[in-house]
């Protein structure tokens, strides 16, 4: 057996793409506001140039309309790359990645227990409760909205300050707690609370883009887990619904990306859950 481990140094490529994505979707040009951005980005941000898919989805439910285009967006994006949007394009995920860098080297909570909460957030809050109440309930508690819309809009529009109430301060407190958590725990919002992540999560198992682990060379050294932004041991579940497809683990030669149309069913490498 040839022992494999993470030998490649971290690349700045993903950080550059995340920063570029955040800049484009918050470029201040409203020309694309009819188009939903695949990642979580509040459209009430003064600089937002595209629509938030989760806010738009809730708006459709409030209007009692079927969100045909949004379902299409989720299926098309998820079908090709699974949850890669979370790892490469989501501005809120990017902020959490930056916060994790200033935290202690050994991050707390290296577990996926509790990831069911993001499904609960999607089904109970963003879908059922929003439809029942007739108001976008997830937007009311969304920390991305507090950061990208609440704080800047209140600064830019003095008229809004007189309308500030308990909800605003509750959102600010939840944002502060989340920022503190993101310093100590890698991507807490993405792992436990993001309803958009819950939408894309099941696609990891069926997307064209897959991860493969070569069992003949993997020594289970946990190098992949150490570099993973969500603390996944990729050799256990190469296509876990918690994986954000950032591809940091592919710095290990035992882990590789494959596109489903190229993989042979008799391949010795593992591509599915056991």
């Amino acid at each position: 057996m040839i022992a494999m481990a993470i030998t490649k140094r971290a690349s700045a490529r993903r950080t550059v793409i995340q920063a570029a994505s955040a800049a484009i979707v918050n470029s201040g040009l409203p020309a694309l506001k009819a188009c939903p951005f695949p990642g979580l980005n509040c459209y009430a941000c003064p600089l937002a140039s595209m629509a938030c898919p989760m806010g738009s989805l809730q708006n459709f439910l409030v209007l009692r309309r079927v969100p045909i285009a949004l379902v299409g967006l989720f299926a098309a994006v998820g079908g090709v790359v699974g949850r890669a949007v979370c790892g490469w394009a989501c501005p809120f995920g990017f902020i959490q990645d930056l916060l994790a860098r200033i935290g202690p080297r050994r991050k707390l909570l290296p577990t996926q227990k509790g990831s069911w909460m993001r499904y609960a957030m999607l089904i109970l809050v963003a879908l059922i409760a929003t439809y029942a109440v007739g108001a976008p309930l997830f937007c009311k508690i969304c920390p991305a909205g507090a950061l990208e819309a609440g704080i800047p809009q209140v600064i830019l529009r003095p008229g809004l300050r007189s309308l500030i109430g308990v909800l605003f301060w509750a959102k600010i407190v939840s944002l502060v707690l989340l920022v503190a958590a993101a310093i100590l725990i890698k991507r807490p919002f993405c792992r436990f609370l993001c309803p958009l992540g819950a939408v894309y999560s099941p696609f990891n198992k069926v997307s064209l883009m897959r991860l493969e682990v070569d069992d003949t060379t993997c020594t289970r050294c946990d190098g992949c887990k150490r570099v993973c932004p969500v603390d996944l041991a990729v050799y256990e579940h190469p296509n876990s619904d918690s994986c954000i497809r950032c591809l940091e683990c592919t710095r290990c030669p035992s882990v590789s990306v494959t596109w489903a149309h190229r993989s042979a069913p008799t391949s010795p490498v593992r591509t599915v859950e056991h």
Partner: protein, 61 residues
């Protein structure tokens, strides 16, 4: 190894896996729905909503 068995193995090696078919179906369905959404006015609804200053997002209302 008999010819029949060899043929079966070769056929299995070249067959498109079921998961891959599902991936392509999802992608095709997604693109079709993205286009269909345009015909039923979904993008107009998204634009109308995105143009408003969302008080819920800000935590005002």
């Amino acid at each position: 190894m008999g010819n029949a068995r060899l043929n079966r193995i070769t056929r299995n090696m070249t067959r498109v896996p079921a998961g891959t078919r599902l991936s392509w179906i999802l992608v095709a369905l997604g693109i079709a729905l993205l286009i269909a959404g345009g015909f039923v006015g979904d993008y107009g609804v998204i634009l109308a909503n995105a143009r408003t200053i969302c008080l819920s997002c800000m935590g005002i209302q």
